[in-house]
Amino acid sequence: MFIYLDKESLLHRLHPVTKIAGLILLFIWAMVFNHPLYICIVFLMVFFLSILARSLSNLKKFWITLIILAFFSTLLWSFFLRGPTQLFKLGFIQISKESLLYGLAMGIRIDTMIVSGIIFLSTTRTEDFTQGLSSLGLPFPVSFALSLSFRLVPTFAATTSTIVQAQKSRGLDLESGGLWTRIRKHIPLLIPILIYAIRNTDLLAMALESKGFGFKKRRTYYLRFRSTWRDWLSLTILAGLIGFCFYLRLNGHGVIFHRI
C-alpha cells in the first residue's frame, strides 16, 4: 500500500538531505529542454536511476498512468500551440509539427518528474524525510507534519473508497446528470470524508501527545545518518550533468519553442 521499498541500494544509503536536494535537481533537469529527443535522454537517465534504486516494482504499478498522462499531454499541447509547419487542419483545430513535438516533450517531462518522485518515495522513509527537513533547519513539528501528510494519503484514500462504496450501495450514481447535479451528488461523500478526517486527526493528535510529542524543544533520533563521499559525489555528478544541459540549451540545443 505504501510506496517505500525496504531494500538496500545505492540510493537508499544516501543522506535524506541529499535525496531532497537530488529530487529538486531532477525536477530542474526535466525543465531544461523542451525537445522530446533531449528530454527523452533525461528520462532514460532518470529511469536508469530507478534501476539503481531498485524501485522498478513501484514503476510497474504506475506505468499505465504514465502512458495515459504522456498521451493526453501530447494531445492537449498539440491543439493549444501553433507552430510554423502545419500538419493538419480541420476547422479551428490545427496541429503543427512543432506543437506535436512540444506536446510529446511535455508528456515525457511530466513522466520524468513522476518517476523522480517515485524514486524518492521508494527510497525514503517518512522518518528519513522528517529528519532531512529538520536538518535543513525546519522545526521538528513542521517537518513531522509535512512528512506525515504523505504517510496519511493511502489511509485517507482507503477510507474515501469505503465511503464511495457505502453510498453507491445506497444507489448514489455519480456518473449521470449535468455539472451542477454531479457536484451536488458529491455532498453525501464529502460530509462523511470530512468527519472522518476531523476525527482521525483528533485521535492522532491525542496519540502523539500521549507519546510525549513536544515533550522538549529538542529530541533525539533513532535513525542515524552521516553524509559521506557518496553524497557529495552523487550531487556533484548530478549538478554537473544539469550544468552541461543548461550550457547546451543556452547554445540553442534541445529547443522547440522558446519557452520553458
Binding site: D6, A166, S169, D173, Y196, L203, K211, Y222, R224
Partner: protein, 560 residues
Amino acid sequence: MKAIEVNALNFVYKGRTRKALDGLDFEQEQGEMVVLMGHTGAGKSTFSRCLNGLIPHFHKGNYSGEIRILGNPIMDKRVHDLVDQIGLVFQDFESQLFSTNVELEVAFGPENLCLPREEISERIDDALQLVRLKGFQRREPASLSGGEKQRLAIASILAIRPKIVVMDEPTTDLDPQGKLEIFSVARLLRSEGYTILFIEHEAEAAMEADKIVIMDEGKVVREGKPCELLKDSQLLENHGIRPPQIAELLEEINEPTIPITMEETLKVFEQRDWKISDENYMALLKKDEQRQKGYGKKIIEVKDLEYVYPGNIKALDSISLEIREGEFLAIIGQNGSGKTTLAKHFNGLLKPSKGEVRIAGEDTKRKQVSELGKIVGYVFQNPDHQIFADTVEDEVAFGPRNLGIPRDKISLFVEDALKEVGLEGYERYDPFSLTKGERQRVAVASILAVRPRVVILDEPTTGLDYREQKSIMELLQNLNRKGHTIIIITHSLWVVAEYAKRVLVLHKGKILLDDQTRKVFSQEEKLDQSFLRLPEIIRLSNRMGRTLLSLDEFKHCLKR
C-alpha cells in the same frame, strides 16, 4: 502510596450540558490490575483521558476535582509531563500508528524524551519482547494483523516506561484471536509489576483482575472482586456487560457459582449427575432440519468465484455457495480471510475476476450496483462512513430517492423503516447527535427503506455495548422472521451462535466450513485452527458430546 487516587472528579465537555464525569471517586494500588466496565456513555473513556492530562488540556471543558498519580497531584501538569508516569493506549489502533516500520513506531516516544540512541535501541528490544513482537522490527505496521497492531501500539507506550498503563477498550476492534493476544499481554505486564487499568466490555478479561470497577453516569457505582461481581448477572446486564455464561448457567440450575472454569464445571456436572437429555437434544436437531426445509427460492448463487485485487493478490479462491430466501447466514473468519470481499460481491460492488455471482437469477456482471441495491441492501461497518444528512428522515430517504421509488411511497417506506429499527419520533433529529448504537440503527433503516429482500451487515455489533448489541441483533432476528434474508459478517461468535442459522467459515480466501450453525460449531478443532475460539458455553457442551448454542438451549436440555 497509591498508583491512582481520584477525588470528586467532575467534567463537562465544552459546549455540552451533561456531566461526563459526576463526582467520580477512584483508587488503585500500585501493581494492581483493575478492569473498568460500564455501558457506552458511562464516562470510562473520559475518565481515562483525565488520568494522563488529555482532559482538560486537549479536550477543553468544565473541570473540577483532584487526581493524584503516584502521590502527586496532576491538575497543573501537561500531557507530556506525565508520559513517563502514565501511558494511554487507545481503542482505535489504526489511527495511532503512523511510522514506516515497527521499530520506528516504538522509537517515537523515547525519541521525544531525548534519550540517547543506545538507550532507545534497548527500550525497543524490551518493549517488543513484552508484547511478543520480536523479529517484527522491519515490518510495515499496515501488514500486521489487528492483534499485532494493537500490541505494537502497546509497545510504543511501554517504550516510554510508564509505571501505569491505561488501556481504553483495546480489544473492541479485534477478532477473537486478537483479543486473546491482548489479554495475555495484559497478564504478562501485571506479572512484570506494571499497574494496569483496563477498560473492557468482555467479562473474560475481568476474571483475573484484582478488582472490577463499574461506572455509570460518570461515577463509580460498584467495585469488588471478580468472583463476587461476575456472578451477579443482573448487575452486569444492567451495565452493558455480557455475564459469563457458565456462571449464569450454574446460577440457573442452583449450583454454587464458584467454579468459573470449564474443568471445574464439568466436575460439578459429573458429581451432581447433570446430563444433556437426548430427547430434548434430538428435538433441537429436528427443529434445525425443519427450518432448513422452510427456506425459499435461491436468491444468491456463487459459482467458482475467484477475486484478485490489483497487484495480483488473490483474495477469494474457488468459492461456490447458494443462499436461499429466509436464511440467516453469518460469515466468519480471521481478519484478512476475505469475508468483506465476498460480501461485496453479493450486491455487485465487486465483480468476480473468474466465475460468476447471480442475484435473483441475474449475473452481477451485467448489472449496476444501483439496480442490485433494490434486491440486496448493504450496511457498512461504520455508520459514520455513510451518514451525511441534516435529519434522520432525509438520511433514510436517500436510498429510496436514488433508487427511483415513487415519491408518494417514499415517506411511507421511511416511516416503516424507522418503526422497524425503533426510531420512530426521531425523524427531525440530527443523526450526528445520536449515540453510536442509534446511528447504527439509522444506517440499517436507510437500507431497509428500499425494502431489499436481502440485508448484508458488516460487523453490526462492533463498538456497541452488550445491551445495544442484543437490541440490534433482535432487530435483525425480527426482520428475518418477516422474510428478509440476513447476512452478517462478524467476529463475535456468541452473536453467531445465538442468532445465525447457518455459518460460512472463510480461511485465506477459501471456504473452510459451510453448514448449519450447530454442525459448524461442533467442529471445534477445525475452528481453533482458524483461530476462531468458540464461546465457553459452547465449548462446555462440546466437551459433553453435544453442541448447544445458547444459555437457553443449555437450560432446556440439562437434566438429571
